[in-house]
């Protein structure tokens, strides 16, 4: 047989996988030619009249035309998949088969239609979910952050804080510590009902930096204080850092880094498990950077806090700008808080929109504080 088979025939004496055969549609019915078992053998043919055939749809996806009839050798089933044969069969089929044929075709169409509908719905749902997550992730993160109790945040921050301080030269008392404490008290006093008890430590180091950990743990390096010309400048940095804590920016970052799974697990419960996940993912609170939106938020709320605490907010802006101009690349605080002209402009615009600040001086002398840090008095402007 040279023409390849185009159908599968099943019958009692055939193997269960069926026998490939060649189907010809003729005026009176079908001629089915079976290939011979051997290459030299004769192929044999069967003729089936349309009058004995019943039709239906079948196969895995109900997309094959199934013909059944009882021949001389018992029941026969023929599976047609070849579109050309199916078309020829439909054209040649007599009146009494057109109804079941139409029903079978209808069934195939229904199955295809249902597949299409289901997959369209699933696809659309998936796209909607992805889009929703993409644009709604901030909302989700905020939701998750709201679920985390402050005590847990404090535990997280405290362990990182203690770990960090263990390897540092902590300044326990002296004018610098007193000055930083006074600044913090004035700022924190303007945040009523704050769940955070701020703890500020001065660390002796030339690093020009200050940072706040979740839960209200703040570290100020003496290097930053040496660089400041006035206490208002240090207070500006403190106000900015305190607001990272108050707005729970650290937690938002952690949750964003942990990803969606963590968000879901927090929204649905089980926050204590997060610490383990953080450890696994190697998230380090010390090296964590805040996002641009978070910096802007901390800037603006920090400015407002300074204003309420009656500390001149100009110091914040000028200090940021001066740090950016002077020691580019050497000031650590800027590596985690990149300064841009847009950021300074934004702060200036915010300040201009506020009524004239009524600044009250601090109780300490900045010159004394600086002298205590070892800055020669000649350097004081």
């Amino acid at each position: 047989m040279t023409i390849p088979p185009n159908a599968l025939c099943f019958g009692d004496e055939f193997p269960a996988s069926g026998i490939p055969c060649l189907v010809h549609v003729e005026g009176h019915g079908l001629t089915i030619t079976f290939p011979s078992d051997h290459d030299e053998g004769e192929s044999r043919s069967e003729s089936v009249s349309f009058s004995t055939v019943t039709v239906s749809a079948g196969g895995l996806d109900h997309d094959q035309l199934v013909l059944t009839w009882t021949g001389s050798t018992g029941p026969r089933t023929l599976y047609l998949k070849n579109p050309a044969v199916i078309r020829a069969f439909r054209q040649a089929a007599p009146e009494h088969l057109s109804r079941p044929l139409e029903q079978a075709a209808q069934q195939v169409r229904q199955v295809r239609q249902r597949h299409r509908t289901v997959w369209t719905v699933v696809g659309a749902t998936l796209v909607a979910l992805v889009l929703g997550l993409w644009f709604g992730s901030d909302v989700l993160v905020e939701l998750a952050v709201d679920r985390i109790p402050v005590e847990w945040e404090q535990k997280l921050g405290e362990s990182a804080y203690r770990e960090f301080l263990a390897g540092q030269d902590v300044t326990k008392d002296g004018p610098a510590v007193a000055a930083v404490k006074e600044m913090t008290q004035r700022l924190a006093g303007q945040v009523p009902n704050s769940p955070y008890r701020f703890e500020v430590t001065v660390v002796k180091s030339d690093v020009v930096n200050a940072f706040a950990l979740p839960g209200g743990y703040v570290v100020v390096f003496t290097g930053l204080m040496k660089k400041a010309d006035s206490p208002e400048e240090v207070a500006g940095v403190l106000a900015h850092e305190l607001n990272h804590v108050l707005q729970r920016h650290g937690l938002e970052r952690i949750i964003k880094q942990l990803g969606f799974v963590a968000v879901v697990s927090i929204v649905l419960g089980n926050p204590p498990g997060l610490g383990g996940v953080m450890k696994q993912l190697g998230i380090d609170l010390m090296t964590m950077k805040f996002g641009r939106a978070q910096e802007t938020e901390a800037d603006v709320t920090g400015l407002q806090l300074l204003y309420r605490a009656k500390i001149n907010p100009e110091g914040m802006i000028t200090f940021f700008q001066r740090l950016a101009e002077k020691d580019e690349g050497r000031v650590e605080w800027l590596s985690t808080h990149p300064m841009s002209s847009a950021r300074a402009d934004h702060l200036k615009a915010q300040l201009a929109a506020m009524p004239k600040p009524k600044a009250e001086p601090f109780t300490f002398e900045w010159a004394t504080v600086r002298a205590g840090l070892g800055v020669p008095s000649a350097a004081i402007p």
Binding site: L8, L60, R114
Partner: protein
Amino acid sequence: MKSEILYPGAFPMVRIELAEGEKIKAESGAMVACSPTIDIESKMEGGFLGALSRKFLTGEKFFFQTLRASRGAGEVLLASTVPGEVVILELDGVNEYMVQKDGFLAGADGVTIDSQMQSMTRGLLGGEGFFLLKMSGKGMLVLNSFGAIHKIELKPGQEYIVDNSHLVAWSSTTSYNIEKATSGWVASFTSGEGFVCRFRGPGLVFIQSRNPGGFGAWVRQFIPVSE
């Protein structure tokens, strides 16, 4: 092309003799040994997008390897990763098989591999995923299983019930429905069967005597949990 199964049983190998110029495709990593006349090429069957869709949709490997007897006749030895039997089928251009994602070991060059989408209920509950490999075309097809492979022959209209995680391959002339194993929902799961597939002939259904997922769960309890 001649093929034979060596060491039938749990750890079989398939030897395929290739005449000069003949080639076969195999699951990547399936080649155990071959004659020096055979060239091994890595090929993205069905083009880049086809390979990509197969990788992501069925979990099959991105690349298949092509073994070509380019410098004269030779033989290749193939084996699968898991212990289990191997079966060789012959596709004649009319019969087609649906193969679950891990079932394919090798095929003649004339065998076409497509990924085919299943209906929603079968995809969700069948345990085979939404996409299966559809083998059509002409030539030899080698399937592998986890455990022994068992062939179920179904006459037209004959039905048989198979636990869904034991499926390897089935002809496209069969149809199947997903059902609860018992009449009640709770009993369905406490019986350990969950969902089952009710196959309806005509056609062949190949099943494996071991359930890979179940085996994995069993092994997991012996693996020490590390911090």
